[in-house]
Symmetry: C2
Subunit: 341 residues, 2 copies
DNA sequence: GTGAAAGCGCTAACAT
DNA sequence: ATGTTAGCGCTTTCAC
């Protein structure tokens, strides 16, 4: 069923049908009604490939989400969708897993959907100019920046928190309460991801508080999954190392870690305080509720879209924004029971 | 940058470039290398609209996910993707929110991507034959069926659990422990969704155990969100109605409900047992861990793809499969403290 | 092994 | 207000 069939069935030309489909004004009411009726009764749906192929401009903005099941992204996706819509554009979303190549995906979408711009939600932090070449439309990195890359500032837009500084603040909270033996649960310490960034913030905070980091207190889960977080924490807890608090790089991992701590006989926060980074809605419903550094997801989404549209519409060039996270106090942090050293 | 540009740059014809791009054998190595080099250096990416437009057949299978942030779907999506891949097809996923029209989305994708078949993950349970007409390729409903519809059995394929029966079993567990005053937390009691189905299972179980259902013990959240679940449970808990256990239609809602119970002074399971349906991985990490009826997500994904491919490849017609859920005992259920009536 | 040319289904001038 | 027609970028016969 093509536009030609509809035209023939109605006894009009293809352009008339095209006009009706696209809601153009210059068609007589009678013809319009007849065409619409035929379209409905035939369940005709225009071939999008053909439309996109022939149309030169579009109103599509791409959203490439890397890390399919990252709960932190759910909220931001809603915000981004809402803002793109509000600005009169159409959002086209593509989800890929964490091992996939977001730049390649973006480049393909750019051509396929004739994108005007792209929001990357989650991605690598070490882009090179060469890698970025396939992307020829404006884009913005949301929730991460190019910390490990060597790009000049004006080659990339981003909206993120300062991951190192955020971890620093979280760990400092623990120090302020008197904790000295603070363990860390990370995905990796040198994976060029936010895990590495937050881990370095942890190290820096320890040093600034006169605490010598100990390798035995750092648990590497190997991924951001709850399963791995649980396993790594059990290993740490049963390893004989003493600690009164844990800094954990992500909320979801912290929830699993708390379970591991309790399964090995430690009550949170009585025997071990836990502080994390992310600020999932979920973390307000767990027991204990999680004390965590909240990424301002609402603003993050809004600003990402604002920066992108400013570029698309020629109002401004690349811009990088660093947002302030907010400490959300829950029930997972308390002073240490007694000074241990 | 089009195929023409590449052809011109290489001094060959477009058909030769096309052959190289599509990995056809009949091109001399020298020409092939030259074209490939030009393609790379130009960051050329073929226009997919044009390709799809001209190609008649495809190997694409669509996955329409309704309910963007439903954590229960994450696992199934992985399984479905894996199985479709393994069978030599390509998965094209589209996520839509719970208020969107999955049939329309599927119909558009079918034409746009030249789909061979569609998996619907989550959707309405009251399709009519008329509504289904726009879909002309085989499809399968995963995790839900057409309970409220009036379609002949051979018009629709599905893989799901028996939601009513599953709720019945969950509630019966509570009864077996001696609970008589069992509250329910649902999204709605007549929303034509699994909420309604599970609610009816709850009612039936009560009756079969000689318990008179009480309206005052049914909390309607109005949605499947944690926020609404928390609010509705608080309302219920502070309403004066007495109950020693709760049946909750979804894991995520149960996690929020447990928080509400504890915030109103009831400890779970000492003062109130909680049993749910879904079996999220997350529920094994909360405290208490959730006692829940697990949907067999792995098999659900596998069987959905198997049934779909059987239809696509003409081996079989429509088929409906009802899978057995498995009770996962956690720490949220205990006998009532004392008989109350 | 390579090229020329006919469409795929649609939109958007341009005519009428 | 409606019809005619030239492509959009690509694949695929069909020649050579």
């Amino acid at each position: 069923m093509t536009i030609k069939d509809i035209a023939r069935l109605c006894g009009v030309s293809v352009s008339t049908v095209s006009r009706v489909i696209n809601d153009r004004p210059d068609v007589s009411p009678a013809v319009r009604a007849a065409v619409l009726e035929t379209v409905r009764s035939c369940n005709y749906i225009p071939n999008n490939s053909a439309r996109v192929l022939v149309r030169s401009n579009s109103d599509a903005v791409g959203l490439v989400v890397r890390g399919v099941s990252n709960p932190f992204y759910s909220d931001i996706i809603k915000v981004i969708g809402r803002e793109i819509d509000a600005a009169g554009y159409t959002m086209v979303m593509q989800q890929i897993n964490s091992s996939a190549d977001e730049i390649g995906t973006g480049a393909i979408m750019e051509r396929e959907k004739k994108l005007r711009g792209i929001v990357f939600l989650g991605g690598r932090s070490d882009y090179t100019a060469e890698e970025l070449r396939p992307i020829t439309v404006p884009f913005v990195c949301c929730s991460y920046d190019n910390s490990f890359g060597v790009l000049p500032r004006d080659r990339l837009s981003s909206v993120s928190i300062d991951d190192g500084q955020t971890a620093y603040r979280a760990v400092s909270e623990l120090c302020a309460l008197g904790h000295r033996r603070i363990a860390a649960l990370v995905a990796g310490t040198d994976d060029r991801s936010i895990s590495e960034l937050r881990y370095h913030g942890y190290l820096r905070a320890l040093k600034d508080h006169g605490i010598e980091p100990e390798e035995a207190l750092v648990a590497c889960a190997g991924s951001f999954s709850m399963e791995d977080a649980y396993r790594a924490t059990r290993l740490l807890a049963s390893g004989g190392a003493e600690f009164t608090a844990m800094f954990i790089i992500a909320d979801a991992m912290a929830i699993a870690a708390i379970k591991a701590l309790e399964d090995t006989g430690r009550e949170v926060p009585r025997d071990c305080s836990v502080i994390a980074v992310d600020g999932l809605a979920l973390s307000q419903y767990t027991r204990p509720t999680l004390t965590t550094m909240c990424q301002p997801s609402e603003r993050m989404g809004e600003e990402s879209v604002r920066i992108l549209l400013d570029m698309i519409e020629g109002r401004a060039g690349n811009r990088s924004l660093v947002l302030e996270p907010l400490l959300r106090s829950g029930g997972s942090v308390a002073p240490p029971r007694r000074a241990r050293d």
